[in-house]
Symmetry: C2
């Protein structure tokens, strides 16, 4: 095994897994239970995607720690706002430091397992509201991981300067099973189509001239 | 509140808390349950130290995540080795990425709580075996935290270039209640005096011409 893929079950990280597999990498996918409203649905998607690609999937229970974080994305927070993904009201759904924490944990597990690379699906669409998805963060975090693991592990973010539209275009070529993925932030099994995450996804499918195979409420 | 202190209940982080208090900072201390053999003893020490200084103490349950890490420091690992703290066999007690992960979590909590600084008790005595306690790691991690929290939080490590001997000298001036602290790595209430952690501590007291107020097995 040479690569850990941070797999949320959404379309970005699922495409990331497809890229890694196409490059011939030997992968382990890891998801987190952390108390988000859509957590059970995204983790189920991550499990199904891993099964589809015949890749081992591991779920890490972070829920006892995430009770110390506040965000409307979490079951303990307020309503998921509706609107565009990059709109300022979507900042309510930021879980403070979540990606930084997950990257650190994945690096520690990579060290434990003797795996050299941790791949993250962060992309430019995240930059507006998630500071721990931006390039300046990623570059510093990668150096921290390299030093902090004594050069055993590094981070890779192949989509860092791509957006959801170009990620989907890449995934189309790779025939990614998007019908298995889960993007909606809401606590319901069928995607709402109205939250920022749904809107950004639908926009990417529309611009790529593709039908989103996932079922929507409307 | 302006400062989160990572408090293990050992002599370094306890001295760090004393320094922060002397500087007039308003502190929250945080410890972790993560499955180390001495965890219950160090967390009890952290609680007593916080109580002594009348500082709120919070314990974070990281145990469901740490099952994915391998180390002889953990209850799931082998015997704690005996010998000098900086000896190569002490590397068996390194928990891969532990300090990186804890720093990330504390930064996320600081953001959630509106606290600007996270103080870590890492020092030069840790540099030999813990890569995520060294200066190159710390500098990159601090930049990652600053960017990853959109400049809301930064890390401080006032003891980064000091060793246990000089930390203890500082603590002596501050009249730190070392009788409440816990250093030994072993799964026993009374310190063994033989593991690397005990040996480094005893050496620091001896060189400072102080009696260690903690009870030892021999």
């Amino acid at each position: 095994m040479d690569t850990i893929i941070s797999l949320s079950g959404g379309m970005d990280s699922t495409t990331l897994l497809a890229v890694a597999i196409q490059e011939g990498r030997s992968c382990l996918t890891i998801g987190f239970t952390y108390g988000s409203k859509h957590n059970q649905f995204e983790n189920e998607a991550a499990r199904l995607v891993s099964q589809y690609y015949e890749i081992p999937f591991r779920l890490i229970d972070f829920s006892s720690v995430s009770t110390h974080f506040k965000s409307d994305l979490l079951s303990s927070g307020g309503e998921i706002p509706e609107g565009h993904y990059e709109a300022s009201n979507m900042k309510q759904t930021v879980v403070p430091g979540r990606n930084m924490v997950f990257a650190s944990i994945l690096a520690g597990i990579a060290w434990t397992e003797g795996v050299g690379e941790v791949w993250l699906g962060i992309h430019s669409g995240d930059h507006a509201i998630y500071p721990d998805c931006r390039s300046d963060f990623f570059e510093a975090m990668n150096i921290a991981v390299i030093h902090g693991t004594d050069r055993r592990v590094c981070l890779k973010a192949p989509f860092l300067e791509m957006n959801k539209i170009s990620i989907l275009a890449r995934g189309k070529q790779l025939e990614v099973p998007y019908w298995l993925t889960r993007t909606c932030y809401k606590a319901q099994s069928i995607a709402c189509g109205k939250c920022g995450a749904c809107q950004e996804r639908l926009e990417a499918f529309r611009i790529n001239g593709m039908d989103d195979p996932v079922e929507y409420e409307r």
